[in-house]
Amino acid sequence: MSGKNCFLVVLLSALFSLLPNTFSEACGPLEPEFEGYSFIRNDIVEDTSSFSPYFLRFEEVYDYYKNARSQQIRGNLDEWKSIFCEQPKLQDLYQVIYKTPKGQLELLRTAVRSKNMPLPFKLSKNTFALYLKRNKCSETVDYLIYAKTCEDYVIPESNVWKDDPERKEMEMKRLIRQGLKTFSKTKSQYLRLRYAFQMIRLAHYSKDYEQTLDLTNRLLPRIDYGESLIRYWILGHEAGAMKSTGQKLEAAYRYLQIFKNCPSKREQAYRSFYVASDEDWYQLLLMCKDDEERAMLYALRARNESIRTAEEMNNIYELDPRNEYLELLLVREIKKLEKDFLGLAFNDRRHYNERFHQLPRKDAGKRLIPLQTFARRCAKERKVERPELWKIAEGYLAFLANDLYEAERTLAEAEREVVNDTLKDQLAAMQLALKVQLYEVMDYDNEEEIYAIMKDNPLYKAYPSFPDFINDRIGQLYSQEGHPGLSFRAHYTLASLKLNPQIDIIEDLISICRKPEKSALEEAMIIDSNQVNILNDLLEMKGNLLFHRGQLEAAVEVFKEIPYQNREKYPNNPFYPLLHDCRHCKVEHVDGDSLPTYNKIEFIQRIFELEYQAKANFDRGPYYLYSLGNAYYNLSYFGHSWSFFDQVRGGSNWRYDKDQVYPFWSWEAPYGNREYTDMSKALFYYDKVIDLSKDAELAAKAAFMAAKCQLNNYYISKDCDYYPYSGNMPNPPAKYRTYFELLKNDYNGTDFYQEIIEECLYFRAYALK
C-alpha cells in the first residue's frame, strides 16, 4: 500500500465506513405485523356463502373498500355482457364503457348510425363496438355518451380540488332534464333503468333529496325490467335521500336489502346503515318480512368489530338456526381468538403483539367462554346447517382455552362425524397442532416424531403456521430442559448467533455435535443451510470469544480442535498500520513486497512471540510493542483486520453502540450485534512505545495511532455529537485530543509529522489551529 491514489481510496473508504445507515421516513412508519399462528381455514365456509370474503377478511376492510369499485365494475360488466347475449368480450366492454373518451364514443355513434362509416380506429377490433355496429344499437351508444357525461359530476377522480359546486349543480340539473327527455323516448327497458339510475344519482349527488325520491317514485314504475344490479344501486341513492330527509327507518331497511343482495355495495350499505335507538331497532325488526331477514339484520349489526359476537350469534340462532352467517361469524371470531390465545405460552414474539397490537385483548376471555358455550349448544342441538363444524369449533375453542384434555376428546368425537374432505383436513390440522402443544419433554422418541412431522406430514407444508408453531414450542421445551443451544436453533440460524456469539449456546450446540447417538431432530439442528455440520463454525466462534476476552491460550486450544485443512489464512496482515482507517482494504503488500499472513493459531503464537521479544529485547522492544498495538488496533471495529476474530460488522453501529452491542431491531438478531470497539489494549501498547522509545519517529507514529484510539473513543462516547453527514470535521473535547496535542508539541520535528500533515486533513486542520 503506497501512493496518493491509494490514500484517496483509503480516505473515501474510511468516510463511507463511518457513515451510519439511515432509515428513510419516506415510506411512512412501519407497522409490524401480528406475529403468531392460525390453523383455521377460510375455505371451510368460503364455498358456502357469498359473504365469506366480506366477513372473513374483515382485517382488510380498507382493501375491501378499495376493491369495492373494481367489484362494482366487474358486476356492471357482467350485466352488460349478459344483456348482449354474452357476445362481447369482458375486456372489450371495459374498454368501451370505462376507458373510451366521450369524443370516441361520439365517433362510435356516427359509425353505428352510418352504413359506410367505419368504427373508430381504436375500437375497430373491439367485439362490443362491432356488436353495436352490426346490430345498429344507437340507443345503447346514446346512453353510453350520456353516462360518460354524467361521470364527470358523480365520480371524483384526480381533479378533487378543482370543482366548482355552483357550476356543477347547474350542470347536473341540466343533465337530469336531458335524461328525462331521452328516458321517455328510449325503447329498451334496460336502458330506461340505466337512465333512471344516472338521473337519480345526479339528483342525490347534487343534494336535491326531494328530487331523488321524486325521480325514483316516478321513473321506476315506468320501467318494465326484472332483476338487475342497477336496481340496488338505485336503492342505495333512494336510501341516502331518505336518510337525509329524516326517513331513517325506511333508509335503514333499504340498506339492509342492499347488504343482503348486492355484494359490491355491501360495505357502503353497512357504513350508511344507522339505527338511533332501541325503538328504531324494534321497528326495523317489524319491517322485516321474515325471520331470515331479521337474522340478516343481526348479521349486519354483527359486522361491527366491537360487538359481542356470541350474543349476536345467539340472536341469529334463535331466529334462524341454519343461517349461513352463523358459520361466518364463528370462523371470524375464532380467527380473532387465535391471535389472543394460540401458543401464547411459547410464542417468542408475544411481547411485540402486546405492544403493537394490544393482544391478547383485555376482554378475550369474556369472548371465548360464551362462544365455547354457544358452539357446544349448536353441536349438541344439531339445528345448525353443519353440526360437525360446530363440534370441531367446540374442540378447537377448548384448545384455545388451554383445556387440552377436553380439546383432545372433543376433536376425537368430531372425527367420527366429519365426512367433508375440507373439514377432515381442518380437523387433522387442529389435532396436529394440539399434539405439538401436548409434548411435555424433548426425549428421543418425541424428537423423532417431530422430525417426521416436519419432513413428511403434508399438513406441515399446507398450513403456513406449522413451522413457527412447532419451532416455538420445541424452543420452549428445550429451554426448560437446559438446552439453550437447541432452543436457539429452534428459532434462529447460525448467522444470527454470529452477530453476537453466546458462550452457553455455543457450548450446548458443541455438546450436541459430539453426542454419540443423536435423534434425527438433533442432527437437523447441527447442520447449516448447506447441509454442512456446524461444529467448526461453533469452534471458530468460541475461539473468537476467548480471544476477545484475552484468554489467548484457551483460544489456541479451541482453534486446534478445528481440522488443519479448515484453518484458513487471513489475507490481511494485522500488524501493519494504516494512516487512514479502512475496513475493506487489502493489506497484503507494502511497496511491492508481500506481507506475511497468518491463520488464527499462527497469529496468536506471533502475539506471544512479540510479547516475549518486547520484554526480552531492550533496544527493539518498543518496535515490537508498536506491532502489538497495531495488531489490537487493526483487529478492532475500526481496523482493517476486524473480520479476523469477528464475523459481522455494521457500518453505523459505532453511532448506536451500547456496551459494544448494537441492539438493532430485527427478528434475526435476538442478542444484537457485538462490535469490538474497545481501544484500551491498543492504547496500552502505544503508551508503552511513547514511554520507552528512543526513536522519535517511532514515538510519533505511536502517538498518532494513540490519537486515533482516542478519536475512536470519542466517536463511541456519549460526548460525541459528530454526524458524518454534517460535512464538518469531528470536534472532540480536549480530553480526547491529548495525543494530538502531544504529537503537535513534542514530535513536530519528525518526518512522520510532516507526512501526516500532508496526508491527514483532520490532523492538519487541528495542527494549524
Binding site: E25, A26, G28, P29, Y62, K66, S158, V160, W161, K162, D164, P165, E166, K207, Y274, V275, A276, S277, D278, D280, W281, R301, N304, S306, I307, R308, E311, R361, K362, D363, K366
Partner: protein
C-alpha cells in the same frame, strides 16, 4: 466597567418590576366570536341570539378538512361546507380548515407547493359565497407533531405567500405546543389560536374531565405570556359522553348529557358523571352492551369563569379575541348568553 454593569442591573430590575406588575392588570380590548364546525352552514335563531347578545365580531367557519387519500396518494379536501344561510354583514368571517396530522406525515415535501395552491384556489372558490364580506384572515387547524412539523410549517409559509399581504394567516395552537414550544416549534403565522381544552387523557377511564381540567391546564400556561405569537383563545362549549368497553375507549358520543341516561332500566349511575349500561341498548346510534361504562364530560359554568380568570392572569398585554367552540344550539343550551358575557368581562 462595574458601574456600567450595576446601571444595567438597576435598569433590568426596574423594567422587570414594571413587567411584574402583571400584564393583565390593565383592561384590554377583547373581541369575541364562535367557531362553526359543521359541513352545512346554518345559523338558526338560537345561534343568532347568541351572536347578537354578545355582539360577536367574528365567525370562524370550517370550510373543509384535508386528509390523506391512500388510493390517490395525495391530500384531498373532505366535508366541504355547503352554504345555505347568509351570514350577517357585521360578522367577520374567518375561513378555517382542518388538516390531519396523518396528511402532513404522508405528504412528500415536493407536493407542498401544489397543496398550497389547491387550498388557496378552493378557498377562493368557496369565498365566492360571501360576496359582502372581506377576507382578512384564514386559519389552519392541525395538531402537528415533531415528525410533521417541517411539512406543516412549510405549508404555512407557502400559503402565506399564496394569499398575499392582505390576508392574515393564523393557526391553532395546542396547550402542549405552548409549554414545549422549543421542541414543537412556533408556526410561521401572524397569529395563533390557543385551543384551551382537551387537557386530559380522554381514553383513560379514571380521567375526571378530559375536555378541561384547570389544574392540568394551569401547568401548561407558565410560558404563555412569553409565547412569541399574538394569541387568541378558544374556549370549549361542548359536551360528550365517552363509552368504555372493558377499559377501552369505544365511542365518543357528541352532545350527550345526563338526560339521555335517566332511564334506569338501561343505565345505572356509578357516581357523578359516570354510568353503567345495565341492558343492551342503542344510545344515539351506538349499540352498547350490558357492562359498558359511560363518562359524561362537559364544562361547568364555574370552570368557564375560572378559566377566564386563569387566562387573564397569564395572557399577554395586547388585544385578543375569545372564540367559543362551537356555534350549535344543542351545545350552547347549558351556557346562557349572560354567562358567556361574564366570561368575556373577566378576561378584559
Amino acid at each position: 466597567m462595574r458601574g456600567v454593569f450595576n446601571l444595567f442591573l438597576l435598569a433590568s430590575l426596574l423594567l422587570g418590576g414594571i413587567n411584574c406588575q402583571s400584564p393583565s392588570s390593565k383592561p384590554i380590548m377583547v373581541q369575541n366570536g364562535f367557531y362553526h364546525w359543521k359541513s352545512y352552514l346554518e345559523i338558526d335563531s338560537t345561534a343568532s341570539a347568541y351572536l347578537s347578545h354578545l355582539q360577536s365580531q367574528k365567525l370562524y367557519l370550517r370550510f373543509f378538512d384535508i386528509d390523506w387519500d391512500d388510493t390517490r396518494r395525495m391530500a384531498v379536501p373532505l366535508a366541504v361546507l355547503s352554504l345555505a344561510h347568509p351570514i350577517p354583514d357585521s360578522l367577520q368571517v374567518i375561513p378555517t380548515i382542518f388538516i390531519t396530522n396523518r396528511c402532513m406525515l404522508q405528504l412528500p415535501p415536493e407536493a407542498l407547493p401544489e397543496l398550497a395552491q389547491n387550498i388557496a384556489q378552493k378557498l377562493s372558490s368557496l369565498w365566492k359565497g360571501f360576496p359582502r364580506h372581506t377576507l382578512k384572515e384564514f386559519q389552519l387547524d392541525c395538531d402537528w407533531s415533531g415528525k410533521s412539523r417541517a411539512n406543516y410549517f412549510r405549508l404555512l409559509e407557502l400559503l402565506a405567500s399564496e394569499l398575499g399581504d392582505s390576508v392574515q394567516l393564523s393557526a391553532t395552537i395546542r396547550l402542549h405546543q405552548i409549554k414545549y414550544a422549543r421542541q414543537t416549534g412556533i408556526p410561521p403565522v401572524a397569529r395563533g389560536m390557543l385551543m384551551f381544552y382537551n387537557t386530559g387523557e380522554v381514553d383513560q377511564w379514571p380521567t375526571e374531565n378530559s375536555i378541561l381540567d384547570l389544574r392540568t391546564a394551569q401547568a401548561y400556561l407558565g410560558p404563555l405570556p412569553k409565547y412569541p405569537l399574538p394569541l387568541d383563545i378558544a374556549l370549549p362549549l361542548f359536551r360528550w359522553g365517552i363509552v368504555f368497553r372493558d377499559d377501552d375507549l369505544l365511542h365518543l358520543v357528541n352532545g350527550l348529557d345526563v338526560n339521555a341516561l335517566v332511564d334506569t332500566s338501561r343505565f345505572r349511575s356509578l357516581s357523578a358523571q359516570r354510568y353503567e349500561v345495565v341492558r343492551n341498548t342503542y344510545l344515539n346510534g351506538h349499540y352498547l352492551y350490558r357492562g359498558d361504562r359511560i363518562r359524561l364530560e362537559s364544562i361547568a359554568e364555574q370552570d368557564l369563569l375560572e378559566a377566564a380568570e386563569l387566562l387573564k392572569k397569564n395572557r399577554a398585554n395586547a388585544p385578543f379575541s375569545v372564540v367559543f367552540y362551537h356555534l350549535d344550539a344543542m351545545m350552547l343550551s347549558p351556557y346562557p348568553p349572560t354567562l358567556l358575557e361574564e366570561v368575556l368581562r373577566r378576561m378584559e
